[in-house]
Structures are given as C-alpha cells and as structure tokens.
C-alpha cells in the first residue's frame, strides 16, 4: 500500500508550533533517535574504511559487530598501489585411464580463457572477470606459504577453487572421470613503463598446489542430484 508519497501534507504547513505537546514530544524524540542513528552509523562506517588508527584499534570488535556483514565496504581501488602483475590460474586433471592407469592432462590456462572472453567485450560477465580472479584472491589470502588453510575461510576457499576448476575442466573427459586435479598460479610482473629507468624481473613465478582428490561434493550440484 503506497501510503507515503510525500506530497500532501494536510495541516503540515503550520509547522511544529501547530502541534500538541504530545506530538511535539514524539517528533522531538524521533528527531533525536534519527540524529543519533545517523551519527553512529557514519562514525562506524568511517572507522571501518579509514586506516587502522588509535580509535578503531581500541574498538575493533564493536566496529566489526556493527558494520559486518551488510555494511562492509572497501574502497582501496588500485590502492595503495595498483596490482602490478598478471596472475594466471592454471589447472590439470588426472583421469582414470584404461585399465586403471592414470593419465595426466596438460595444463589448461583458465585465466587465459577468461581473458579471451573479456577481450573486445563491452559488457564483460562477472563469471569471467570476477569469479576465478576473486576465488584465487580468497584462496591466497587464507593460505600460508605451505598451502595450509587458516580457519573456516581457508577450508571453504579450498573447496571453492576445487569446484571451480572441476566445473571449468569438466568432471570427465572422453568418458573418463577426473580422479584428481592440480592447480598452480603463474605470476608475471608487468614490465615497468618504457620511459622508466626501473629494472624489474619479469620472469614468471610458479606456485604449485598439491594434487587434490575430487569428491562428489566437488561436482556441480545440478548434476550430482
């Protein structure tokens, strides 16, 4: 029911003075609540987006409790420095071969496939621009150098990457099921601009993850029901 169109204000033009004492108390209380709510909200959001400081460190728990999850935000676009490397996520599969002998496929460059889909597309899809890129960010942000997951998010990110890779490679190839998958990232720094005197090592750096067995939970849901 659209009751509030903000148009007619019967008796409203008289201003607050025309109202009874009770109404004025209600309006005053409403004004106080709204003012405090807006001030608290803006303070909390400010402390959340500002760099960690004296106040936000002291009240980190309260700020997180207020802001997360619905008001979470991050505006560090290309900051403090823009990303200066192309990170390609690649994967390969181990297939159950004839007679039980495993066969390993060559590496597939999943990021290059994304890049090809984005190239010359005026409206790139989130499935191509964000899915794998952010999944890898999530994984690398929740794993240490020895690929050990930190907490719940680390474990979730692992299964996410595995499911993503299985979905992209396919759960089987030539009728042979995929038993295990392996993921690696190849990081190539962007060469410094030609006018710069900087020297940068642009050789690719590989990060190779262990082989992961593919379980039923790693297969696309629509197919495994």
């Amino acid at each position: 029911m659209e009751t509030d169109d903000g148009h007619e204000r019967p008796g409203g033009d008289a201003g607050l003075e025309g109202l009874s004492l009770l109404s004025r108390v209600v309006v005053a209380a409403g004004a106080a609540v709204v003012a405090v709510a807006a001030a608290v909200h803006l303070t909390m959001v400010f402390l959340h987006v500002a760099p960690a400081n004296t106040v936000s460190k002291q009240h980190a728990a309260e700020i997180d409790d207020y802001v997360l999850p619905e008001f979470e935000q991050n505006w560090k676009f290309f900051a403090p420095n823009p990303l200066q490397q192309n990170i390609a996520v690649q994967a390969r599969a181990e297939l159950r071969g004839p007679g039980g002998r495993p066969v390993v496929t060559p590496w597939t460059d999943l990021s290059a496939q994304d890049g090809a889909a984005i190239l010359h597309h005026p409206l790139p899809s989130h499935t191509r621009q964000n899915e794998l890129r952010r999944a890898w960010d999530f994984y690398s942000g929740t794993h240490d150098a020895r690929e050990q997951p930190s907490g719940l998010r680390g474990r979730l990110s692992e299964q996410y990457i595995r499911r993503l890779v299985v979905a992209r490679l396919g759960a089987e190839r030539d009728g042979r099921p995929v038993d295990r998958v392996q993921v690696r990232s190849v990081t190539v720094p962007v060469a410094p601009p030609p006018w710069s005197e900087e020297k940068a090592d642009t050789r690719p750096v590989h990060r190779v993850l262990p082989w992961w067995p593919v379980a039923t939970a790693d297969l696309p849901e629509a197919k495994n029901r």
Partner: protein, 415 residues
C-alpha cells in the same frame, strides 16, 4: 550556532523531504544499473548465484552461518526457488525504476540485492558494493516524490475532489501490503534462515524479522493515518518521515564522500601514485583490458599517464571539500563522471562505473536535473507539455551542496 539558526535547520529537516530530484535520480539510476546487470547475466545466473555455482549452496551456508549475512536464497536450495528470487529481483528493480509503489518496491529491491549478492559474495566487485549499500539506504528515502508513477497518481488524486478521494481505497496497495505480510508469515513459519527478532540482522540487536515487520507496520500505520486521522497524527508521521528521509540522504551523500576520500587517501600512500606511473599498470592487466590496443595507446605516453594518475588522486582527495563551493563541486562532478565513463570502457567495468556515476548524481544541482528531466520527457513523450506541474520549489527543498538557486550568503563568504 545561535538558537534561531538551530530552529531554522530543524524546521527545514522536519518540514520537507529534501533533494526530491537527487533521491529520484539515485533510485532510477541504481535500479537501472541492477536491472541491466541482472538481464546481462541472465544466461549466467545459474553459475553466479544458482545451482551451477562453484560457490555451492553448502559453501554459502557454511560462510553465512559464520558471518550472518542475510539472503532468502538460503531458505531453500531448490532451483524453482532460485528462479523465483531472480525473477522477483528483476521485477522489483523494474518497478522501482518506474516508481510504482516506491516505498514497497524499495524494500523488495533491497531484498533482491541482498538475496543474490549475499548468496555469492566472492563474485562481486566495487559496483556491487555500491548497489548493496545504496539499496539499504534507499529504503529510508522518499525517492518517489518526482519522476515516478506514484507521483503521477498523487497528482491526479490531488486534482479530484474530496468525495472522490475518500472513495479511493487504493485496492492494489492493500493487496500488495497483505501479500508482503503473508509472505513474511510464510517465510517465518517455514523457518527461514536469518529471520530472527534480535539475533544478528541489519544492525546488532535488530534481527531481520524485526526490521521487515517494522517496515510493514509503518506502511500500515501510514494507510490508517491517511484514511482515518488526516489531521495531527498524519502531520506527526509526515514529520518523522521527513526526518528519516533527510538523514538517509545525508548518509548517502556522506557515503559517496567516504568512497572518494578513502580511495584517495590510500592512493596517496602508494609509491606508484607518487611516481605517476600507477595507471600504466591496470592498462596492462589481462583482466582489465578488454581493448588492449586502446589501453596501450593511452599508456604509451609517460606524461599522459602522469597527468591522469595525479589527476585521479587530486580529484578523489579534494572532492568532499569542494562541496563547500557549488561551482567547483559541479566541475569536479563532471570530471569524475567523465573518468568513470573512461573506466567503463578501458577497464571493462561498465556496471561499476554506472553505479558510481549514479552515486555521484546525488550531488547534481536541482536546476540541472530538472532540465534533464524535461529533455527526457520531451524525448520520450514527444513535445507534450508536462502532465502535471513540477514539485513546487519551496524554501524547504534546499540542501546545501545540492541546490542553490538563490545565492546564499555562504557563497560570498567562501574563501
């Protein structure tokens, strides 16, 4: 501040819902962005938020059990439910765009945004973040005062006499309101995840059940007051609605300032922004160069890259302060919107850029917005004169930094 200034300020924020054109443009722009995005991703919807998502329903459930984000998609893993929610998200954004039952649609639109985005949090980018926040804030604004079907209906009603108006019971509105109530009852009866009274909701201590039932009751209260108590109770509700609207508008404006200010402050700390090569790098990232020829051409000149990099930081850091001066503010708005058009094409981020341009538009001057509105009307409806007079520009419709038709003293005294 002396007592009379305080009184004047209070009279202003209790007397009218400020920035009617600005809030309308935010409503139209963000629902348009979200609608276009949903339609563009229609073929990919199962992979993004549905049964084919690598971020499976079970993974989402485990994360949500930990972070308490709200999404009706957790109420059932069935694909029929998913298709229903996706379709409702499309329909509610289209209706919010048109301004049909704006107050109800703003709530349904917000639920659609939360449903999809919170289902797959790792698929979004900055643009999704802007839409998410603004969807929450828009619920509190009277964003249908102009450029909406609601405004058209209100104008027609105002033209009729009192007897006809009394007979106008607003049946579609009552049906919509009752359907929303029934849907909420059903969702709670079926044990919908996240629909608690006090556990983690939009804010600590306020559950989503409290928030949604609260909004539903407020809508009912408005209907009652308008039909049966048009005098003082209606005036009090009106005043409270003005207050909520004006606070939400302030929060929206402050949010835009925070986006630019923090984006700028973090950049100032970066060595690449300092040495003026920063923008060279995104132009060479495979994920952000749909037109590599164009990107490399632009990134080919060291001076151009330097000017663009420094310009970006300068504009972002400066923006909040330029609100003190109308002219400088408008120049910066134009610059930022132009930069976002560039980002849309060069970095392949059209939906992000559109969301940012719309958020910026909350600072556009009323005179400009009205001219654009009139031009659009002529374009769409032909040269027909406006079906109704525009909202009267009373003294209450003035917000500092938004609209200054009459030059106020601050402009002269500004340094």
């Amino acid at each position: 501040m002396n007592a009379s200034a305080l009184q004047r300020g209070l009279a202003r924020v209790t007397g009218s819902s400020l920035g009617p054109y600005q809030t309308a443009v935010v409503r139209i722009g963000l629902s348009f962005t979200w609608l276009c995005y949903l339609l563009r991703e229609w073929p990919n919807r199962h992979e993004l938020y549905g049964p084919d998502s690598p971020w499976s329903w079970d993974l989402a459930r485990q994360l949500i059990a930990d972070n308490h984000a709200f999404t009706p998609l957790m109420w059932s893993r069935g694909s029929l439910w998913f298709e229903t929610v996706y379709a409702l998200a499309i329909v509610s954004s289209a209706l919010l765009l048109l301004g049909w039952r704006t107050r109800t649609m703003s709530v349904l639109y917000m639920l659609g945004v939360l449903a999809l985005q919170n289902r797959s949090v790792f698929i979004g980018d900055g643009g999704d973040n802007v839409i998410h926040l603004m969807a929450l804030y828009t619920v509190f604004t009277r964003c249908g005062q102009v450029w909406s079907l609601d405004a058209r209906r209100a104008a027609r009603r105002a033209g009729r006499d009192a007897a006809e108006r009394g007979a106008d019971r607003d049946v579609p509105g009552i049906v919509l309101w009752a359907a929303c109530g029934l849907a909420l009852v059903a969702a709670q009866a079926l044990g919908g995840t996240g629909l608690s009274w006090t556990a983690r909701g939009p804010l600590p201590g306020i559950g989503w059940a409290t928030a949604l039932w609260g909004l539903w009751l407020v809508h009912g209260l408005w209907w009652l007051a308008r039909r049966h108590a048009p005098g003082e109770p209606r005036a009090v509700l009106d005043t409270l609605a003005h207050l909520a609207h004006n606070a939400a508008l302030l929060v929206i404006m402050a949010e835009v300032c925070l986006i630019y200010a923090t984006a700028g402050w973090y950049k100032v700390q970066g060595s690449r922004w300092q040495d003026g090569t920063a923008l060279y790098y995104p132009m060479h990232l495979d994920y952000f160069s749909p037109w590599p020829g164009l990107s490399h051409l632009l990134a080919g000149s060291g001076v151009v890259v330097l000017l663009l990099s420094y310009g970006t930081v300068a504009v972002q850091v400066a923006f909040p302060f330029t609100l003190l001066n109308r002219r400088v503010k408008n120049v910066l708005l134009a610059l930022m919107m132009a930069e976002h058009v560039g980002i849309a094409v060069l970095l392949g981020l059209p939906f992000f850029s559109l969301a940012m341009i719309v958020a910026d538009a909350v600072f556009l001057p009323t005179s400009f917005l009205r001219r654009v509105g009139a031009a659009v009307r002529t374009l769409v409806l032909g040269a027909r004169p406006a079906a109704r007079p525009e909202l009267p520009a009373g003294p209450g419709a003035v917000v500092p930094g938004i609209r200054r038709e009459a030059p106020p003293e601050t402009e002269k005294s500004a340094p």
